[in-house]
Symmetry: C2
DNA sequence: ATGAAAGCGCTAACAG
DNA sequence: CTGTTAGCGCTTTCAT
């Protein structure tokens, strides 16, 4: 009753099994399955039929060993619990699945060292890597990009293909929004010093401030966790401002909570703008005015670029920029009356 | 200037390179590196030194090909954008990294078929799998568990090792909480029909209801997405109840939003209880009373169990149950006065 | 268009 | 304790 292999057996079918069952050589089977055009139609069809009968699934390791290709892409994120990555992961997943690639997920725990190490240690386990929020230095990143096909998200480093969500432009827009509401004393609650995005946002804020005739006030840095919001709120309160743009929504939401506890009315006493429009920004209290980032698209685009590089290894270094837009909700409002004349 | 291999060369070092440089056989090098105890100390140390010099990193594919072990575990989740999985992923990541395992993440998009397919197609790419919220039928799941080392999360199926977050007990507690606040007409906003957890929660609710002398009212089913909250809210409003336990926080939060739009005061007119205590449950408006699930621990425990099975393949099927607890926030309150006499 | 043969880098008997 | 010898399953020349 038991067949020699395949369906109904414990041992998975191999090329050799198919070859035996078909009466052709393994090399022919190999070709038929991975390079169909180079095999006679009849034989190919016969082979395909037998392969299906035997529930044949190629052994990825054996394949990788000889061909070097793994069919996997590595996705490195700094912190799985940061909702910002949800969309990125989902977009990346969609795109890679569609192309038949598997995803290896690594949480690098905000550590550049770990990032580097993982990239090396797993080198032969993936074909290319997507670095979402790399903590690597520009030098290191550029060096790695020479050896490994990779695409960085929100990182602009010479020689490194990237997808950049243009939050700096968004920050300018946000500042305009606040100024048009009458705010003049505006703070920026800074994110972690190691964050590339943070630097860009603050720079944009100064630039826009200069243009609009307001001088933004820097507070922080704070870690980009919700829990850091308490400290950020206190610091902002202390800075005697009427509005604040926060490094990201996580921080902004944390601030909202603290401000509420302290009896500070948002936006009555203080307006708050977040960044990213993560899960939760729409239902926090008050709903957050924020910069909406096309994260899912970013994930898709990044993987698409990566796959393109894998096909065509000597592609020019591409840099794609995705626009953000300001989503006004309820955390921003006109400057308090008694302050408008400052 | 160029060395034959290793540091500074393009081609990564192999066991053979180390063997050549050390003057021992490859098999000895292999042993020294993966079974240190079975090699003479001096030789081992020499080998280790050379390996380090050469930046040796084992080729996982070659290893997998012969040994069958991949050093990877697959984590299947139904939807990456569901915050419930954050903690699970993080816990799983911690535990697997600590043991030197890599994580392959797959979003099965709520599809049992895809789940099955992925598990098969990638079979040789992982050593074991963690199914967080499997959509597989009991039969199918049990069958797979025979062939593949796996641990299921929130699934209780004979013969399948599992980690179960005991939300049913929590639901009983939640119902007691509501009853003690004077509620008598209480709805359960049901999750998707295919969800195992949903069935358990509803069952628990009926059981507790019988004990407490109230008959819960079933509304739904609804998908477990925030957007389904609108429909759920309407249905609950229509059911003429004073309180509602929702399948999960995502649904509950969606309901909150809709109720606010409709001018229904929570908890003044209607009390809402969620389930899971996901990201956002603490800062939504009003903050949600919910069942706090130890998700991160669940992830850790599940991976720990899985790894234990991998070491010791004939371990008895273990089932670990993790308790939940009721976290009372601001979405539940006393029954409205004019209804208390019903 | 197909076959034969040589590995990819590693592990796992089996000898010594 | 160490070396020798086979492969694991597949891809890839090189012939035919």
């Amino acid at each position: 009753m038991t067949q020699p292999t395949g369906a109904g057996t414990d041992r998975p079918a191999t090329l050799a099994d198919i070859a035996a069952a078909t009466g052709v050589a393994v090399s022919t089977v190999s070709r038929a399955l991975s390079n169909p055009s180079r095999v006679n139609r009849e034989t190919r069809e016969r082979i395909e039929r037998v392969a299906a009968d035997l529930d044949y699934v190629a052994n990825g390791h054996a394949r990788a060993l000889t061909s070097g290709r793994t069919g996997a892409i590595a996705v490195l994120i700094a912190d799985v619990t940061n909702p910002f990555y949800f969309g990125v992961l989902r977009g990346a997943q969609q795109q890679s699945r569609a192309a038949g690639y598997t995803q290896i997920l690594v949480d690098t725990d905000e550590s550049g060292e770990l990032e580097d190490q993982v990239l090396k240690r797993l080198r032969r386990s993936y074909d290319g890597a997507l670095l979402a929020a790399s903590r690597l230095s520009d030098r290191r990143l550029a060096a790695l990009a020479q050896e490994i096909p990779l695409v960085a998200l929100n990182r602009q480093t010479a020689g490194v293909p990237s997808v950049f969500i243009d939050s700096p432009s968004g920050v300018e827009q946000a500042l305009e929004h606040l100024v048009s509401l009458g705010h003049r004393r505006i703070a920026y609650a800074s994110g972690p010093r190691t964050s590339f995005s943070n630097a860009g946002r603050w720079r944009a804020m100064r630039r826009a401030g200069a243009r609009l005739g307001v001088e933004p006030i820097l507070v922080g840095p704070f870690s980009s966790r919700q829990s850091a919001g308490a400290a950020a709120a206190e610091a902002v309160l202390n800075a005697d401002v009427t509005a604040c743009i926060a490094f990201n929504d996580l921080l902004a939401i944390g601030m909202l909570t603290r401000l509420r506890e302290r009896g500070v009315d948002v936006p009555g006493d203080l307006s708050i703008v977040g960044c990213d429009d993560i899960f939760g920004a729409d239902f926090c209290n008050p709903p957050l005015t924020t910069l909406t980032a096309p994260v899912e698209q970013a994930g898709r685009t990044a993987v698409a670029m990566l796959l393109a590089r894998l096909e065509e290894s000597r592609l020019p270094v591409a840099n794609s920029t995705l626009p953000t837009h300001l989503t006004v909700r309820a955390s921003t409002g006109p400057v308090p009356d008694h302050r408008s004349d400052r």
